[in-house]
Amino acid sequence: MNQRLRLLAALLSLMVFPVTIFAQRIVFDSSVDICSKPGFQVEWDSESQRMIAYRDTSEPACPSVRVLSSSGSNVTLYPLKDFPGANYIDIWAVTGSATGEVIISATLGYGPRNTRPIPIKSLLLSYDATGTLRKVWNVDPYLHHHVAADSVGNVFALGEKGGASGGDYPLLIKYSPTGEVLGETLSTGLFSSKDAVVVSGSPNGEAKIFIKKDHLLVWIAATQELFTFSLDGVLLSRSSFSSAIQQMVDLSGGTRVRVLEVGVDSNQGIVFQVLLRQKLPAKAKVALARVTPDGSFENWIEPSSDGDVHRFLGLTADDKNVFLEKVSQKTVAIDLNRR
């Protein structure tokens, strides 16, 4: 009897386990895509365990956003179809919310791409879990480069104000679920390079915002600082990581470090994937490092490598590292069982 039960349990586990293992792997195959250019950028939504791939497009029939979850569900968004009259959409940032929404910071161009000037609309869009457009907020004069959402649907956005005439202004805005401004903080006056800290192109990497355990974290790559806010927008801490990053330069014998990705765990420990620049003609290397909350280098999680290294995307809600792996030229995957 016992043997039969064991056999039954083994059969059942064989039936269930492949599904479970498959469910922990998110595969994005872009080979069937009819629009090959441009390629997709990828973000990790730790709240809902989803991969969000996005790209700019000028063709309404081309998907701009693909949302793939660990549960196997797959939603494709065609935002340009929702805005008849727009010639193209550029996507600057995406994020997922705990309610399953996808929030997109986008600009819509009403005219040919190569013509100047043309009307541009800077928008925050919210799509529900079924891929239906639910909210459109015109956030002009802001252009948001980074977005995050909390569990009740408030949206935090880090962006620059077009046409700002020299005076200081807030870079971080908190919007209510209905699109009202609930708070503004992180003044440009805090930075010597003003609003350039949120704009792409810093040699130190890109800025980033994310929510972890009821805290809003803002990584300013240009100054190598991490700002921690309460979800009410109160600044709790401002920590510099420049000494830890300098330590990485020294340990690797490199010339400088660019932060490719940053993740913060539940104990405020920081994980950085970094690009270690070497003296030419040596190739740059990639490494994964852990840094303590007080800004000291702790250890290398992965030693430096100059090969085709997997990309670190961030952490899961329970602090597992999430990596994007190349499966083939057109296919990438996230294996959530991998630590």
Binding site: P117, R134, K135, G163, V199, S200, R311, K330
Partner: protein, 164 residues
Amino acid sequence: MQTKRILLPTIAVLLFFVIWHGASGFMVAKAVAAPNASMKSIAAAMLHPPYQMATPHRTLLSGMRFALIPSVSACGTGNPQCTGETAKPTCQGCSPGYCYCPGCQTSGCTPYACTYVGGNRFCVYRNVSSLDCQQHGDCNCISCEEDYNSSCTSGTCPPGPPCQ
């Protein structure tokens, strides 16, 4: 007489709020609609909104001012002209999420493109040869980070002036 004295201002105030509310709704729908959308389609979107709309940084008055006098680009001192562009990471011919150059490897660098968004912005393609150049932030678009720029130079814009 007394009733009239109370009723008339009350109606006037109510009417004012109804008009204000209607005008605000119209301006929000107009801000979300295509620039050349007809009054009729804007009014239809206002009455039967297909999605929730908002203009968080505009009031009715600033919305009206914007509708009447669109903002103009005016460069600050030091920039020769406004291109209305800003730097944006791009992804050409790489596996999803591996938008680096050359060779789409994580150990490569991030290619950027000058992207038109309007406003008081300045951005030109250039080959970057010094760290100081890059630290100008939005003043330059970078086709690729230093060290590897020769393999990733792209775009149709001519190179910008040398860094000062």
